[in-house]
């Protein structure tokens, strides 16, 4: 089985994000970058599925600047087999929009012909939650978004590193996190699956694997070579800081709290 996993380089969610004074974008100087956390979950799932169905291959694809090779390399160090970087130099408001990313990924997938594509449900920079669904429609494939595991992340199944997605008879069976509960879908392969937080706990790269990853191949492609027009369909015009909340008031005890909720906030 061939599994393709998309990995986006994003600002570290632990960094302090500030808006630029000219409101054109956020301040990126001094902000660390890393792989989108959802994509790490997708990589982990791909590795578990591969190891359960050898011989199989896990290919990592990222679209972005040359620096995104770092995130591909991290996924290779987790255990993936090889990488593809679609190099695109626009940054800030000129970054790829999800639609352009989906169309680039479509071309890569048409070349690679994987059986399964695993992606994050959402990139924690643009928080769009659209790329996987766009890609599925462009390819004419089925999709299962927000893939989860029915068992908790502290369960025996997770400790045994079992995949949460079941591959059986040319289909993927997936539990999805939806409003009001969990839904089970069966989707014919090849398919797009986007992953949610509760699918697995990603592994750390071991030192020997980090060394091995240095020798794994990363192919480079470009939008021109793939014949994709990267003009954005959604353009960021400006960004601003969110409205600040004037919090901070402390109350000494429960009686004061209830009295304030009743007379000041008038919510009880």
């Amino acid at each position: 089985m061939k599994i393709l996993v998309t990995v986006k380089r994003v600002e570290d969610y632990e960094s302090k994000i500030k808006v630029k004074p000219d409101k054109s974008w956020i301040v990126t100087e001094g902000v660390n970058c890393r792989a989108n956390p959802f994509d790490e979950i997708a990589v982990e799932e791909a590795l578990r599925l591969r190891d359960a169905a050898m011989p199989s291959e896990v290919v990592i694809v990222s679209c972005g600047s040359a620096a995104a090779a770092t995130e591909i390399r991290s996924a290779l160090a987790m255990g993936a087999d090889r990488g593809v970087l679609v190099k695109f130099d626009g940054a800030g408001p000129q970054s790829l929009d999800p639609d352009a990313a989906a169309r680039l990924l479509q071309k890569v997938i048409e070349k690679e012909k994987p059986d399964l594509v695993l992606m994050g449900k959402q990139a924690v920079d643009d928080d769009s939650n659209v790329t996987g669904q766009l890609l599925a429609e462009y390819l004419g494939w089925g999709q299962a978004t927000f893939a989860s595991k029915r068992e908790s992340l502290e369960s025996e199944e997770e400790k045994a590193k079992k995949p949460g997605i079941a591959i059986e008879g040319g289909t993927a069976k997936v539990w999805r996190e939806v409003d009001g509960g969990l839904e089970r879908l069966e989707v014919a392969l090849p398919a797009i699956v986007t992953v949610d937080l509760r699918l697995n706990v990603p592994r750390y790269a071991s030192l020997p694997n980090i060394m091995k990853a240095k020798k794994k191949p990363i192919d480079e492609l470009s939008p021109v070579a793939l014949g994709v027009d990267t003009t954005a369909k959604v353009r960021v015009l400006s960004v601003e800081a969110p409205p600040a909340r004037a919090g901070g008031q402390k109350v000494p005890d429960v009686a004061t709290l209830v009295q304030k909720l009743k007379t000041e906030a008038k919510v009880i």
């Binding site: 429609e137 978004t145 992340l153």
Partner: protein, 320 residues
């Protein structure tokens, strides 16, 4: 029928979802600014009641009532909505950013060659030029975005638009469309059953974090005393202490109740992204430096196991 704003409505157990009325509010605002008309699309099996409910809001409703739409599959719903958008010459397609809206809308956009602005929290721009405001980086920045394609797809965050009110002039007509066979099959749905109000619609929400050590008895008792919904942080849901459906935050549900009480929750930015819009925020945490206190209107530094029982008793007294 040119220049319509197609609203993808959602029915649940035969009734119109409340989030759809918030999406309708956004659709109406776009219609006023672009001199268009809102057309509703509702699909499912046995959706007559929900279709009429939507029509009672002054909307011309297209109802696709068919066994083919009994379960929402992004593939078939995407085809249906794109077809309805073409038939009504829609310039905007709008839906609520629910798990269904998020699943389906990008597929509609891809079929229409449209850009999609997701989880929109407000409209801006001048006159017929409509721009969208949306949160990025876990709510650390609010972006104003432009959709550059002739048809524009939008999902809206229901908590940011007050539900549209009833209006006259609505109608329901059957819309028949047979989608090509789906590569996806619905297997089963395991609902989270709760007698409490729905998280995103509740007037008050009581949320518990890792500080509860997994025991939600006090959280539930307090919620019941207030008639509130129960929420949780990611830590709680990851541990399997509470169902996924209760996670509040950047990647869970976004809530904006009159009253939000965070108990044993540290206040990570990803959690704040889901509740910062609440009118009054109360935090109970034993760590005086917990970041949750920076957004709380009223903070109580205390052991939750000691003060929550007192709080339940005091609120009970305050009510009578």
């Amino acid at each position: 029928m040119a220049n319509s704003i197609l609203l993808i409505a959602e029915a649940h157990e035969g009734k119109l979802k409340k989030a759809t009325l918030s999406a309708l509010a956004a659709a109406r605002e776009i219609a006023v600014r672009t001199s268009g008309n809102v057309v509703g699309l509702i699909a499912g099996h046995g959706i007559d009641g929900a279709a009429k409910e939507l029509a009672a809001h002054g909307v011309r409703v297209l109802a696709a009532d068919s066994a083919a739409f009994a379960h929402v599959l992004a593939e078939t719903y995407g085809q249906l909505a794109a077809e309805a958008a073409k038939k009504t010459e829609a310039t905007y397609v709008v839906a609520a950013a629910t798990s269904i809206g998020k699943d389906v809308m990008p597929r509609v956009a891809a079929r229409l060659g449209a850009g999609v602005a997701s989880d929109v929290i407000g409209l801006s721009g001048e006159g017929a030029t409509v721009h969208f405001r949306r949160a990025m980086w876990a709510g650390n920045a609010i972006a104003t975005v432009e959709v550059t394609t002739p048809v524009k797809c939008v999902t809206v965050r229901a908590t940011e638009f007050a539900a549209a009110s009833a209006a006259t002039g609505g109608s329901v007509e059957a819309f028949s469309f047979t989608p090509s066979a789906a590569k996806t099959k619905f297997v089963e749905f395991v609902p989270v059953k709760s007698a409490r109000p729905e998280l995103t619609e509740a007037r008050a929400v009581v949320s518990g974090g890792r500080g509860t050590k997994g025991d939600f008895t006090l959280i539930e008792q307090l919620a019941d005393e207030l008639g509130a919904a129960v929420g949780a942080s990611r830590a709680v849901v990851d541990a399997g202490w509470q169902p996924n459906d209760l996670q509040v935050g950047q990647t869970g549900k976004v809530v904006a109740p009159q009253l939000y009480i965070a108990i044993g929750i540290s206040g990570a930015i990803q959690h704040l992204a889901g509740m910062k819009g609440s009118k009054t925020i109360v935090a109970i945490n034993k760590d005086a430096d917990a970041p949750i206190f920076q957004v709380a209107d009223y903070g109580l530094v205390a052991d939750l196991f000691k003060v929550v029982p007192e709080l339940i008793a005091e609120i009970h007294k305050a009510k009578v």
